[in-house]
């Protein structure tokens, strides 16, 4: 798959080296994520916690039951959001498209709030399925609305439908929260988007979906390349764009739905990471997507680590940190590019 037709072997070598470098960086960040937090833990303890766990050691227990879950969830969610974001940008040809454009985030949030309000579910572990269902339902609604009416589905209509469904759901969500302070107290942490407080079962619950989605999108990277030339050109090259688009959208929704279910709505990773990667490796999705698999978690885990240390001993939710990192990036992007391209 990751093979470039270019007659320039140096460029392949360079890009492969970059990919390897990103993977190494991810490894380092993941290790840091195991070590840093309200208490700092040595590399040896972190290592032992993974491979020679002894329940006697407080440090190892912290790693095993608190840091490890959030790190692996961060890995999965980061990769999922970044890859899904890149795929959305390719299919909509819109540099601003992110996974949240399909209404997945607000759908998931709504699902969780409903679960808390009507079924008195209180623990984040049980939010997963409601968030997933809510996200899927919302994005299905967005698709139906975006493709109905004259003219069929178009990226702009899809984006609009997504924005509108999102704001409608968040209005209802606010109404629910206003009616019930208890629900607000339970979900407000979840709504900020966080990796904390989940255990490994959450990770294993969403892993199959994330793996399926990410793997599927990686396999479709060549199709994304062609699709990014525009709908008509892609069709002229013999692609069944409707089918490919639907497949990409389905995989994206599954991936993002699973990651929102695990970590809550986390913005800007899906928007910013593909742009950063693209500025490094160019517009070839056969490179962009694998880079995203590593670069997404790097950003997400870094944000998580920053959130842990910045207000020690309290934590700042990772969704907030990514917004603070991502928004200046978006503004910079807007300032740098020619306006016509936006």
């Amino acid at each position: 798959m990751i093979e470039h037709v270019s007659a320039q072997p140096s460029s392949i070598r360079w890009r492969s080296a970059g990919l390897f470098g990103t993977a190494l960086l991810l490894w380092a960040v993941a290790l840091l994520s195991l070590r840093v937090g309200s208490i700092d833990i040595s590399t040896a303890d972190a290592w032992n916690a993974l491979f020679h766990y002894s329940a006697d050691s407080y440090e190892q227990t912290v790693v095993r039951y608190f840091r490890l879950p959030r790190t692996v969830i961060g890995l999965g969610v980061g990769a999922a959001l970044a890859v899904a974001g890149a795929a959305m940008q390719a299919t909509t040809r819109n540099p601003l498209a992110g996974p949240s454009i399909l209404g997945v985030n607000s759908g998931a949030a709504f699902g969780v709030v409903m679960a808390v309000y009507y079924w008195q579910i209180t623990h984040p572990i049980h939010f997963v399925w409601f968030a997933f269902a809510g996200g899927l339902a919302a994005s299905a609604l967005v698709f139906v609305l975006g493709s109905a009416g004259p003219g069929g589905v178009s990226p702009v209509k899809l984006a609009l439908a997504g924005a509108i469904v999102s704001s409608l759901l968040s209005a209802w969500l606010t109404a629910l929260l206003l009616l019930d302070q208890q629900t607000l107290d339970i979900v407000r942490f979840w709504l900020a988007g966080s990796l904390a407080g989940r255990d490994l079962s959450v990770f294993f619950a969403v892993l199959p979906f994330i793996a399926l989605g990410v793997a599927g999108l990686l396999l479709l990277s060549h199709q994304l390349n062609v699709l990014s030339l525009g709908d008509d050109t892609a069709r002229a090259l013999g692609m069944r764009t409707g089918a490919v688009r639907a497949l990409v959208a389905a995989l994206t929704v599954i991936t993002v739905g699973a990651s929102v279910a695990a970590a809550g709505p986390i913005g800007f990773v899906g928007l910013a990471v593909p742009h950063m990667v693209r500025s490094l490796v160019g517009p070839d999705y056969r490179w962009i997507l694998p880079y995203c698999v590593f670069a997404g978690p790097v950003l997400l885990l870094s944000a998580d680590i920053i959130g842990r240390v910045i207000a020690r001993p309290a934590e700042v939710q990772v969704g907030i940190v990514t917004a603070f990192i991502g928004a200046p990036f978006l503004i910079g992007l807007a300032r740098r590019r020619r306006v016509a391209d936006l």
């Binding site: 037709v5 060549h222 390349n225 090259l237 013999g238 692609m239 160019g282 517009p283």
Partner: protein, 570 residues
């Protein structure tokens, strides 16, 4: 037997009426075929249907003896490559990457590119002459290069049939030739069948073996260029009288629409065979200049586009600015209109520096119509024209008698009075351009600048607009300065021509003094000859290019040297 044909093909968008009616067309194998016709005649739609991009309302498209919809999509793409109008490349994509994406139909789902793909890409780039550009980002290339890169992408498909939608539009003369030459070579050396939709009749005349003329969704004529490109037929198709000028030492005809207000031949020069200066009888000395620039430098941000331009536009005349793409034509116009800050030098309007009067007062002296202006949706024609009165109005004096009179007069002059209650977005291209002109006229300025007023229009609409420009000039004495794309139009409609190249003025003066084969080669990089205009003996520029040397054409009986170019009007 032709590989691509259509039988009783009708096409429509949605449930509305058919855009194309029962077209029976056989594309001759191994030849270059062009489809021409006015805007909105359905030619691009037909091309899209032939490439299977849209399903027919009725009838079929037949590819190699089978209905095209029975093939798998990739199979169609292997046999038939389509280049769309103005495709947009993803940001920062390099040439080779873009070209290699054309291999898509030959690759299966998980297959990585193999040696054959690599070779096809190399060959496509070599054919299109873009091998040297392989690592350059596409968005940094010139228009002609970019178009060749896209053609290379289609070539990488290795399809025996190529469909091209307006491959020469938006390009300047040199780049048009670059592309037409390439297309011709592909046909000759590779034996590929080419079908293209062309905006410019002359391109069809020069580069194709067969021409198909369409009007209102139906085929009107088809056959070799000499048969189809006849004045009577062109007039029927485009709805405007046309001349077909044949020059003596080339087989290439020059098809020109003839507007109502073409500069007439001076009675004194009647019958003379050589080209005479037109402007009065005085030598080509500049009379009073309406606009004068001195060592003008300007640009966008750090980039300097205009570099030391000293030029004058004569009072009461129609002047045209011509030049290759990105030579600074529009920039010059904008800096004259005070829309761009002047970095150095000065611009004088009626011998007064333009910076001195307040903006509104300036807007009462000089109006400008930008290129491709757009009105907000829901705007009515009359309101748009009324917007031209802005420099005369204040918020509490929104509709004085003068305003009303000026707007009525402007609509009258442009013939849009009966459209006054129509929404601007529902008008045709030519109507819309006339409405914008009316807006500029309502400004009632003695000087009017027009930036490419004829681009995107078909020849009938172009004539409509140019006639109007001359009428305004002759009746009201308005000084007009316009940027034009087409050299022949500049010859026919302008009294004064300014030729620009790379931000400098290469030449200026009356067209018959300015245009020479040497200048045209120097500025546009194209060989050409000057042909006397059958209407008024002004020079017309006929680019000479080796598009179609092999084309067999019956020797012209009247083609003796020294004979004036004939205009055959049936």
């Amino acid at each position: 037997m032709s590989r691509l044909a259509s039988t009783d093909l009708s096409l429509s968008y949605g449930r509305s009426t058919n855009v194309v009616h029962t077209v029976n067309l056989e594309i001759p194998d191994g030849a270059v075929t062009s489809i021409i016709g006015p805007n909105g005649c359905g030619k691009s739609t037909l091309l899209r249907a032939l490439a299977r991009l849209m399903a027919p309302a009725s009838g079929t498209v037949i590819l190699d003896g089978q209905a095209i919809h029975q093939y798998p999509t990739k199979e169609v793409a292997k046999r038939l490559g389509l280049l769309l109008q103005q495709p947009v490349a993803p940001d920062a994509i390099v040439v080779e990457d873009l070209v290699s994406r054309g291999r898509y139909p030959h690759q299966s789902f998980l297959q990585s590119p193999n040696e054959r793909d690599r070779l096809a890409v190399e060959r496509a780039m070599a054919l299109a002459g873009v091998t040297d550009l392989r690592n350059r980002p596409v968005d940094e290339l010139s228009g002609g290069q970019r178009q060749r890169v896209w053609i290379a992408m289609v070539l990488a498909q290795e399809s025996p049939i190529l469909l091209l939608d307006e491959p020469t539009t938006y390009l300047d003369v040199a780049h048009q030739h670059e592309v037409l030459t390439l297309i011709r070579r592909l046909n000759k050396e590779e034996g590929r069948t080419v079908l293209m939709v062309l905006h410019d009749i002359n391109h069809a005349a020069w580069s194709s073996d067969y021409v198909v003329a369409m009007k209102d969704g139906s085929l009107v004529a088809q056959g070799p260029p000499d048969e189809v490109l006849r004045p009577d037929l062109l007039e029927h198709v485009f709805g405007v009288p046309c001349d077909v000028v044949r020059a003596v030492n080339t087989t290439m005809p020059l098809c020109l629409a003839r507007g109502r207000c073409l500069k007439r031949k001076e009675p004194a020069t009647n019958g003379s065979k050589d080209i005479k200066p037109r402007i009065g009888h005085e030598p080509p000395v500049m009379q009073t200049a309406a606009i004068r620039t001195e060592a003008l430098c300007t640009g966008y941000g750090q980039r300097r586009v205009i570099d030391g331009v000293t030029v004058a536009f004569p009072e009461g005349k129609v002047s045209a600015i011509v030049g290759p793409n990105a030579s600074g034509k529009s920039t010059l116009l904008r800096s004259i209109a005070r829309l761009l800050p002047v970095t150095a030098g000065m611009v004088m309007l009626h011998e007064l520096p333009i910076g001195e009067s307040p903006r509104r007062a300036f807007a009462r002296k000089l109006g400008m119509l930008a290129q491709g202006p757009s009105a907000p949706p829901g705007m009515v024609v009359e309101d748009l024209v009324a917007a031209g009165r802005f420099p005369y109005q204040t918020w509490y004096r929104q509709w004085s008698r003068d305003d009303e009179r000026a707007v009525e007069r402007a609509m009258e002059a442009t013939g849009v009075s009966e459209l006054r209650c129509r929404l601007v977005e529902t008008l045709s291209g030519g109507q819309r351009q006339r409405v914008w002109l009316a807006m500029a006229l309502a400004q009632e300025t003695p000087v009017l600048l027009l930036d490419e007023p004829t681009t995107f229009l078909d020849i009938a609409h172009q004539m409509e607009v140019l006639d109007l420009v001359r009428e305004i000039n002759e009746r009201d004495g308005v000084t007009v300065v316009m940027v034009l794309h087409d050299l022949c139009q500049a010859c026919r409609y302008a009294d004064h021509v300014v030729v620009m190249k790379d931000g400098h003025v290469a030449a200026s003066g009356p067209p018959q003094h300015v245009f020479s084969p040497e200048l045209l080669r120097d500025v546009f990089g194209v060989d050409s000859i000057l042909v006397p205009d059958p209407v008024n003996d002004m020079p017309l520029v006929l680019p000479l290019a080796d598009f179609n040397p092999g084309r067999v054409r019956a020797p012209r009986p009247n083609g003796a040297p020294g004979d004036r170019a004939r205009s055959s009007r049936a």
